[in-house]
Symmetry: C3
Subunit: 429 residues, 3 copies
């Protein structure tokens, strides 16, 4: 439970807000590289943290991310022509390069130097892990490039998708941090997914439906441990990484399956991008796995073709199937792990009123994540350097699922399992 004022601070991310200033201190997953696949392809609308932008790839393959609206008369560059190393506005022909320089201004006399005074807002971009990332913050604070494990692997080992979620980013991310909902929202679907099925972990998960949570601060965010009883001597620990400001990594089931991760990025205060990533550190994804991911299984979603909007959505009550609910094929009647999550999160309304919550011990991770974000926002407001999650070291972490003696704290027992070892397998049962 937050005060109204705390809730406001947490959720508002436009330029000029405290949380907006914090989030602009990080590299931001902006769009899929598949959206601007080749030189001089059509420009694409992108909205991030309330700012409306246009992404394009110029004739040399360079990435540009500009203010959507032309500096001249504010027509949208969505209608612009991507031609000869620049994007040319369709209204009067002003042309911009990827850095926002106005490189041609045909509406003015040739001798005019007006164009030198024009600078279209432009953000630097990089490409990594199938994602175009941008940095929208002050140049002096530009952090290390993103080094999340999935972003550093060869393309053949990674699958990335995104979907539009009709809630504030925080509401979506809280679902990613909160592993206690798994036992309910996904209760009847744990066995369906070949990525869980038949693992030792799943047996323990089902045997103890009331896990205890231990949450501790990591350098880059939080380590969220959920422990279940196995026998008199051992706990089964599932350890989730939350990396500031919006990354989560799901604890694995077995090592033969790909890992899963997410990013939750504000579009505006009432919508966000839910990014979903499967990856395997030591092998290519198989064709059958890729086919299933493309279909929208598991943590991915069935999107309306040609869009990143889900087929099951608020306008159709997420295609709820009351028969499936009655027959215990789906706890809420909604089909699919992802849709089970976002249907519930969206059911709270686009911005949840956190003054009305009644939080229990299982909500510890959510409470601490909010606290850490609010504290970091205060640091950012004072222009502090070295925020959690800024350093590439903070990215090089893994989630894990392990058996440990009851006497061993999970962060010690799993210490090595929680660090990325390039080329080496992860730890999971």
């Amino acid at each position: 439970m937050l005060t109204r004022e705390q809730n406001e601070r947490l959720i508002r991310t436009d330029r000029g807000t405290e949380m907006g200033a914090l989030l602009r201190r990080y590299w931001i997953p902006a769009l899929l590289t598949e959206e601007i696949p080749e030189p001089d392809c059509p420009p694409v609308r992108v909205q991030l943290l309330g700012e409306r932008l246009i992404a394009f790839r110029d004739s040399e393959g360079r990435l540009g991310l500009l203010d959507e609206f032309c500096s001249h008369r504010t027509a949208s560059l969505f209608f612009g022509r991507n031609e000869e190393c620049g994007l040319r506005c369709a209204y009067h022909g002003w042309k911009y390069d990827v850095d926002g320089n106005c490189v041609d201004m045909p509406s003015e006399p040739p001798e005019s130097r007006f164009r030198e005074k024009i600078k279209q807002k432009a953000y630097p971009c990089i490409e990594r892990g199938g994602v175009v990332w941008t940095y929208m913050g002050p140049a002096e604070h530009q952090p290390d490039l993103p080094e999340l494990e999935w972003a550093m692997l060869p393309d053949s080992q990674v699958f990335v998708s995104k979907r539009l979620q009709e809630t504030n980013y925080m509401q979506a991310m809280e679902g990613g941090i909160d592993s206690s909902h798994v036992s309910f929202a996904h209760r009847f679907n744990m066995d369906d997914d070949p990525m869980h099925a038949g693992t030792e972990g799943l047996t323990y998960l089902k045997a103890d439906t009331r896990p205890k949570f231990e949450v501790i601060e990591s350098d880059g965010g939080l380590l969220i441990g959920a422990r279940r009883n196995v026998d008199d001597e051992r706990y089964y620990w599932r350890i989730t990484q939350w990396i500031m400001p919006w990354y989560t990594i799901i604890p694995p089931f077995g090592t033969h399956n790909p890992l899963g991760a997410h990013a939750w990025v504000p579009i505006d205060d009432e919508t966000c991008w839910a990014w979903s990533i499967n990856y395997h550190p030591t092998r290519d994804l198989r064709d059958d796995e890729l086919e299933s991911m493309h279909r929208g299984d598991g943590i991915h979603s069935r999107n309306i073709p040609g869009t990143y909007r889900t087929a099951a959505n608020r306008s159709n009550d997420y295609l709820i199937d009351r028969k499936a609910q009655r027959e215990k094929r789906s706890f809420s009647g909604v089909e699919g792990i992802a849709a089970q999550d976002f249907s519930l999160q969206e059911s709270m309304g686009p911005i949840v009123d956190r003054t009305k919550e009644r939080l229990g011990t299982s909500d510890a991770a959510i409470i601490l994540a909010r606290r850490r974000l609010l504290a970091a926002a205060e640091d950012a407001a004072e222009d502090a350097a070295g925020l959690p999650g800024e350093n590439a070291e903070h990215h090089r972490v893994r989630s894990a699922s392990v058996l440990l003696p009851k006497s061993v704290p999970f962060q010690e027992g799993a210490q090595e399992a929680l660090i990325v070892k390039p080329g080496q397998d992860f730890v999971s049962i």
Copy 2:
């Protein structure tokens, strides 16, 4: 004509408003029993007086009406599982009984007593006349159970339907109170309806198109008399009952036809439920009558299948047929008595600006109904007991249509006709 401030007082019904407090002193028609037909059926969203609620019928058949949003993290209970005498939230499994007690909280340790502190808002419900009624006010003021004639008859003698109206409840109810519009809005349709056709009353109605109105206060609301000249000695009186806060009964044509009644209940400030009821005090409804009512004839409406939204609605200009208007088959070109009313009421906008009206003598009933509601709202604000319409006695009334000598006041001449006599026929020509 009202002042802006009076209009605001009249139309706002959320918790915390003056009119909201008044309306919460009465039993409220909440939903059709057919919407939650059997134990453990799917829960249903219900919105009343601005409050978003979930209705369900538990394993024992008990009725529950809870705050829609789970006390824990405010996910909607619409996705909840109705199981073993409670509704279980699909997010983390908190489970509530019909009284709002949290009867299971599986996300917390077994020893936790947190759940005892949780109370989901819950309103008492009863079932009567095919309707689930609820009471949303203070326990100490809970009034008599509803005893409207139609609510007390065997199922075989009653037909109830509802439709969504896209206006404030008051605008809809004013149409029910105002019998002077009948001569215009429904002008060319009076003969179509077998429920009017061929009665003596209809002959008199058509012979004098400028009725005079006399409105007097009854114990529970208003008696609205519309008198028409028959000959030198007699008036034809049509007497409408308005029962606080939202019930109207239509004066009958003949005694062989069923009676008609309405209730007008706020969903929020811009929409309401229009309830329409046909009933006969002394006989079962016939199959042909029921078929016609199911089809949406008369005071009922043609709804989009599977919904309570009308097929003719604002988005399609109520399927207006200008040819029918030109050829005098419908005065406004809209088909059906109900649609003729709600099309005009919605055409004023969701909340009519009553500061712009120019009211005449034929609007006397509307003027007095507003006044009585505003006065009762003041009484309720002072926590007064004994509001009009609270007492079951106030419900046991009938409308009537009678011939009376010109010298006899209608409330005297029709006195006996205006009281429910169980098992006895009503008075009508």
Copy 3:
């Protein structure tokens, strides 16, 4: 670039605003005569300058334009019956004539004189050039009737269409004033249109893509000269007329083609009517020309059948064709001259933020038009007479395209070409 306060003054046109008061000093193109084609035809909703109105043609063929909402209980007169020289409200039968007098009030007793107190707001209308015009301002300031050349020609020489534009009127009109966008937005489409093709003017237009602009005040608005180099001695001048408050005339290509003109009229602050007119002063329009105009070619638009809303619109990204853009068949990928304009204008949002613009020398006409409107609005606020564009003389002007010696100012060299000479051809190369 304007201050926020100037922008607000420019765009707000509801009753009570400064610009609203100015625009109400002129005759307003309100609807096409084809919308109310014959006596007693159905009434039509019309919104102008934020006011919701109903247009009808009475039994005698007289034009009425009334407040949409009945004085009695504010039901919409859209559902009214147009009968026997008046429009009768469908709710209680109050009937109004074209002057807004209440000519029948059947809900009140015959002896009542209440109806004499009722006056429905009504605006005078005239019919000219296929358009119904109205005057919404103070009677003492009613100006000359509109005498734009196209409004005074026989029907056979004129074609008028309208379309809904989802922007403020000013944003649309700025496109009509601004001829510098032609070289880009319409770049690849100049040859398609038989109305331009093969003219001497088009050759010069394409040879010099950086015209210089000279803008001077005319009695009724602005003369906007765009000059291009032809050879050492001559300029090719294209001269646009802007007539206060919302008319533009396109400079012609050749004299064999019809002329083109526009009017840009506020519906409310976020939408406007874009009127498009083709006309020839000395001959009938040909069948093939009319066919093409009906189809929506040239300055007209392809509308959704039965509506004045364009088939290509914001909801479908104007049916943008990226292949056509890549292959240089359309600069923005949008098809059609009109759609190329309104897509870009709408892309700025319904109300452009003029504090963010960066205007160059090619924007001189826009700058001066804004200035003149704001100045006239100040005059109107002081109740001044003789505003630019009020006098019929101001309407009797033409645009022109001419070759002139470099030493001759365009307003002198083209002086005669810029005046309407009834029955005589216009001047164009």
